[in-house]
């Protein structure tokens, strides 16, 4: 696995995502629209979307982000943090659990999410992997985040 390299310069803050439901739909709102636009471009390159950037953007913003938001919300009692970043040339949904010991039930839920997204024909351009870290230090989980693109799902750890 190619790990994100630590930089001697300050690591940029992740783009924070808040989400709410409106009319039965999940709306995901970034706290920095300019950086968010660049994020979609990075994600498109990671997923090798090529000439289909517009379609990718739609799948990314209206499909993937809300799905991950719903899952994060449904599992928040076991989650400390949730990020969407890049890893090994594709998107990586990285979560940090609240506990250390392996949790097989949680891992099954993560597997279900992984397969649900992979098999969703409306997310055909999305190439995603998932990873759950145990409760670890900030230095540790940040080493898995790619400085080019990190979105953080809000509302998990008191912010």
């Amino acid at each position: 696995m190619t790990r994100a390299m630590s930089s001697s310069t300050r690591r940029p803050e992740p783009i924070h995502l808040d989400f709410r439901t409106k009319g039965g739909q999940v709306i995901v709102a970034p706290n920095d629209e300019d950086r968010f636009s660049l994020t979609i471009q990075e994600a498109a390159m990671a997923c090798k979307a090529g000439q289909k950037q517009v379609l990718f953007g739609r799948q990314f913003e209206r499909g993937l982000l809300p799905k991950l938001a719903v899952w994060t919300d449904q599992n928040q009692e076991k989650l400390e943090r949730a990020y969407l970043t890049l890893g090994d040339g594709r998107l990586l949904f990285l979560v940090v659990r609240k506990n250390v010991p392996f949790d097989s039930e949680f891992e099954d839920r993560l597997s279900d999410l992984d397969l649900q997204i992979a098999q969703d024909e409306e997310l055909g351009l999305i190439h995603l992997s998932v990873l759950a870290l145990p409760k670890v230090s900030r230095t540790c989980y940040e080493s898995f985040l790619d400085t080019r693109m990190t979105l953080e799902y809000g509302g998990l750890h008191g912010d």
Binding site: P101, D108, E121, L133, F144
Partner: protein, 140 residues
């Protein structure tokens, strides 16, 4: 690159390495987890060769081939879990949390070997015992 038989041979070799390390599981839980993943990788490549006469090629392609096809969902589930356990074994670097804190030796045995790897092996062997279906390329 290898054929179905060659990948099965490599999977068996990985299995023997696991058996050897189980004698000292407390000393080498990370290696058992890592080799369990690579055994699974060769089993999946054997499956893909059986079905499509071509193995995974690279991690990304292998991952997509089994995840996007409903027929392989059970295999993909446990392949993913083995991969993630091996990532923790190889890359978890925290001053206060070691791999053994997440997977103590008894969990390496019960969860990684006797559950994840066993489930994957069983599913793969079911496919390998059948004639391959007509080629169905991954949808994505």
């Amino acid at each position: 690159m290898g054929t179905e038989a060659e990948h099965l041979k490599r999977a068996q070799k990985n299995g023997r390495a696991i058996e050897y390390l189980l004698l000292k599981l407390g000393d080498h839980p990370e290696w058992v987890a890592t080799i369990a993943f690579y055994k699974a990788l060769h089993l999946v490549d054997a499956l893909l060769y059986h079905e499509f006469q071509a193995h995974g090629g690279n991690h990304d392609n292998r991952d997509r081939q089994i995840k996007t096809n409903h027929r392989y969902s059970h295999i993909a589930k446990f392949y993913g879990q083995l991969l993630r356990a091996s990532l923790l074994a190889r890359y978890l670097d925290d001053p206060r949390v070691a791999f053994e804190d997440v997977f103590p030796p008894e969990k390496v045995k019960s969860e990684i070997l006797d559950h994840m790897l066993s489930q994957l092996e069983h599913s793969v062997s079911t496919f390998l015992s059948q004639s391959p279906k007509p080629s169905t390329a991954a949808r994505k």
